[in-house]
């Protein structure tokens, strides 16, 4: 068996309202594709309002790489194309008709196909968009071949979905997906398990992959951490990554010839009355999940987890790459001399607060910034939660200064915005580090292309 890779740095944040292991099926009629989910994609529509689509019909494509298509998760009608400021495409809303018409892509065993045929099938079905590359976290280029493909088989972020539970009994689809992906690279597929938490045979018996076992707190589940520990990215390297549930969808494409983007979503957070899993298709509205299932008050709905997710409305849609919906209270209150009060109900990485006395406690955290934005003052703290051989503050400053040489030298290619989520969380200066890194990566990508 492979050796265990111990990630020593990090922080596990325990929040109230983890999803129970029960599944509700959700037959919602409202879906949406959100072009803003896809970094660097310039959307061009294939459809207009009123058009009917099948599951797998193209809805829009990338202007600069027109073979990369985005397809409808369901059969139905395009009800609304929502644009924002400067006519930016925000949502393409689709009303499902329940007919389950689908585009037939043809069932074939991926083992019998060559790389070209697999790439084409993925492009046609829209599933290519599930394959993302490092650096930059953008959708991979089908003409290139990565040095390896990384798949994380666990998530230990706050309120995370349990992949063991989700993939239970889905060995066949999973293996088919892996077999297809294996043809895309000359290198290995790294399937990364957790030493204790990963139990299911689906992962342990997976073939055509190299199994690595990780041990440690969040962010050991993040692809960035795993790549850095196993096979760090150098300038010019390409590593691809696919989310675990998307591997299933890819598997289904080859087994059944259909685009069947059905996922299990973990719905949790302190404000959800019955936190549990929902079975639904990608892009589903959260409206049906949260109606009568959340507490009163001003709430924050997050597609994804509270560290890295995206804010959505209570009638919004779950993001394309997310498999989690978190609902937490908004923190729009001002607290009298809050900087000196003990704040026993708040969580902190630091011993200046008291949450370290309660390691088992699950917290009900809100969205209050807990302070004002300041310049970087403290040092040596970011390093404690950042499991890379990178100087985080120096890199952040290089990004802020848009100094390309310094960014490259300090390891920008190895990271994505989500790798800085914990740094952002523990920052005394309350600086929005993730968006700084994301903008820096976009800046770099445009400069380098």
């Amino acid at each position: 068996m492979s050796e265990i890779i111990k990630i020593k740095k990090g922080l596990s944040i325990k929040l109230q309202g983890e999803a129970d292991r029960t599944i509700s099926s959700l037959d919602s009629t409202k879906y949406a594709l959100k072009p803003t989910d896809f970094i660097g994609v310039f959307p061009k529509l294939n459809v207009k309002e009123g058009d009917t689509v099948k599951a797998g019909s193209p809805v829009f494509f990338d202007k600069y790489r027109d073979n990369i298509q985005f397809t409808s998760p369901v059969s139905g009608t395009i009800t609304e194309i929502k644009r924002g400021a400067k006519r930016v495409l925000l949502e393409i809303r689709i009303e499902a008709d329940g007919a389950n018409d689908f585009v037939d892509f043809g069932a074939t065993n991926p083992a019998n196909l060559d790389r070209e045929a697999i790439v084409e099938k993925l492009l046609k079905s829209g599933l290519w968009s599930t394959i993302r590359q490092r650096p930059y976290s953008v959708i991979a280029d089908p003409a290139q071949s990565p040095k390896s493909i990384f798949i994380s088989a666990f998530d230990n972020g706050p309120l995370a979905a349990d992949y063991d539970f989700i993939l239970h009994g889905k060995g066949e689809e999973f293996q088919a997906g892996l077999d297809a992906l294996a043809k895309l690279t000359n290198g290995k597929i790294h399937l990364n398990l957790h030493k204790h938490d990963t139990q299911t045979k689906v992962f342990h018996l997976a073939k055509n992959v190299q199994i690595n076992k990780f041990d440690g707190k969040y962010p050991s589940c993040l692809i960035g951490t795993q790549i850095a520990a196993i096979d760090p990215i150098n300038k010019g390297d390409l590593v691809w990554t696919v989310n675990i549930q998307d591997v299933l969808t890819i598997g289904n494409l080859f087994l059944k010839g259909q685009y069947l983007p059905e996922k299990l979503f973990a719905v949790g957070g302190s404000e959800v009355l019955k936190p549990r899993y929902y079975r639904a298709k990608v892009g589903v509205t959260v409206q049906d999940i949260v109606s009568n299932n959340v507490t009163e008050g001003n709430l924050r709905y997050i597609s994804g987890n509270p560290l890295t997710g995206t804010k959505i409305e209570s009638n919004g849609y779950i993001g394309f790459y997310d498999n989690q919906l978190s609902v937490i209270p908004e923190g729009d209150y001002s607290q009298f001399v809050g900087w000196i009060t003990p704040n026993l109900d708040k969580f902190s990485f630091y011993r200046s607060m008291f949450s370290w006395l309660m390691p088992k406690k699950a917290f009900r955290l809100d969205t209050n910034l807990n302070g004002g934005v300041r310049a970087f003052v403290m040092t040596g703290q970011f390093e404690k939660v950042f499991p890379f051989d990178i100087y985080p503050m120096q890199l952040i400053k290089a990004v802020m200064g848009q100094d390309i040489d310094a960014m490259e030298n300090l390891g920008i290619y190895e990271v994505a915005a989500e790798d800085f989520a914990l740094i952002e969380f523990i920052s005394t200066s309350k600086i929005d580090v993730q968006s700084i890194v994301a903008e820096g990566l976009e800046f770099l990508r445009k400069e380098m292309s």
Binding site: G331, I340, S352, A375, F376, F425, K430
Partner: protein, 383 residues
């Protein structure tokens, strides 16, 4: 608290953009955020945030300084009683010092914060909490007899030249409190050194030199205080620096909360001890011969500098490896200056300021080694 909140909400429109007193916004915000943690919610990135903020961090440093302050107040009274030969109780000694030190604290805060507010106002920034600590440090590192106008002048100099010209807290190169100290030291040397300034209202017959001052002038026979006196701080000196014991209580708080870097703190002590030990081996003069290495650590401002000054995160080295080098060199330089420089009995202030200047250079080489490692890795793969 509701009434207070309502009152603040009522006057807030006046200072906001377009309001009658809009030029007072920074000042208003400083007071508002002092009273109430703002209701700002996360907009980008992580939706939840740690409960820590800069105010609490700085407040913890102030808490860590309190033992040194309280002891310092008492010691001011104690040294005075000692010099006059009058018996005094613990309480009366304390209050004698209390009434002398509190005005210095008030001047330091009022003048320093006033300057900060003016600058924040001019720039339209929020007022930063950095001065909460600097303002507390300045009274602790000056002799108790320093005239208040000098404290005010030094504070203004420190805030403007030491901090604001660089862009405010977080951007400064040298420790502002030490800049204030250095300003006084070079501008008014007679008020900052010698044997007359350390004890308030000293009787003339009594020698009031600090042990380090005596050491500097000693020719053959060195007159050291007992280890206990030096460690617990029953000796003359700047207000907060004498008691290594009280300082170590603060050190425990800072290290336990993780606010100060243990790397810096310990390597300063190790550096000082190592240099002292080397001098002991040479023994070229009385100073080298008769002062055991550990004495350097408990005399003068060494402990105070190591615990509260060298560890200032803004002006120290920022990389973990750099912190060891930075701290060690401070210790070495402080002892070096003490023993070799004929003009300055104490070397801690200058050692820290010197290494403040060199900290970015140390970091540069540490970060460069990380960069080289990355380049080497890339080459190995390419080969």
């Amino acid at each position: 608290m509701k009434a207070l909140r309502n009152y603040i909400d009522k006057i807030k429109p006046n200072v906001e953009k377009g309001g009658k007193f809009h030029y007072m916004l920074s000042t208003f915000e400083a007071f508002e955020s002092f009273l109430f943690v703002p209701k700002t919610v996360t907009k980008k990135g992580s939706h939840i945030r740690d409960a820590i903020d800069l105010k609490r961090t700085m407040f913890m440093v102030v808490v860590a300084l309190i033992p040194a302050l309280l002891f310092g107040m008492w010691n001011v009274g104690y040294q005075h009683s000692l010099s006059t030969g009058v018996e005094a109780t613990l309480i009366s000694n304390f209050f004698y010092g209390f009434w002398l030190v509190v005005p210095i604290i008030i001047v330091s805060y009022v003048v320093g914060l006033g300057t900060e507010f003016i600058f924040a106002q001019m720039r339209g920034h929020e007022v930063n909490e950095g001065y909460l600590v600097s303002g507390f440090l300045i009274p602790l590192i000056v002799p108790v007899t320093t005239p208040l106008w000098m404290v005010a002048l030094a504070t203004i100099f420190a805030v403007i030249i030491g901090k604001e010209v660089f862009g405010g807290t977080g951007m400064n190169i040298m420790n502002p409190a030490l800049i204030a100290r250095a300003f006084l030291f070079f501008a008014y040397p007679s008020q900052m050194s010698g044997d007359k300034v350390w004890i308030a209202d000293k009787a003339d017959a009594f020698s009031g030199a600090t042990p380090l001052g005596e050491l500097m002038t000693a020719t053959d026979k060195v007159n050291l205080p007992s280890v206990a006196d030096a460690f617990f701080g029953f000796i003359p000196g700047s207000v907060g620096e004498t008691s290594t014991f009280a300082i170590l209580i603060g050190a425990v708080i800072l290290l336990w909360t993780g606010i100060a870097s243990w790397r810096v703190m310990f390597s300063v002590f190790i550096g000082g001890f190592a240099m002292g030990w080397i001098f002991n081996q040479f023994g070229a003069n009385a100073y080298m011969n008769d002062v055991p290495a550990y004495f350097h650590l408990i005399l003068g401002g060494f402990a105070f500098g190591a615990v509260f000054m060298a560890t200032d995160p803004v002006t120290a080295a920022q990389t973990n490896t750099g912190k060891y080098i930075y701290g060690f060199l401070i210790g070495v330089m402080a002892v070096l200056i003490r023993v070799f420089n004929p003009a300055y009995p104490e070397g801690m202030m200058l050692a820290i300021l010197l290494l403040n200047v060199f900290a970015p250079t140390i970091d540069y080489y540490i970060v460069q080694s990380n960069i080289n490692r990355r380049l080497k890795r890339a080459k190995k793969v390419a080969a």
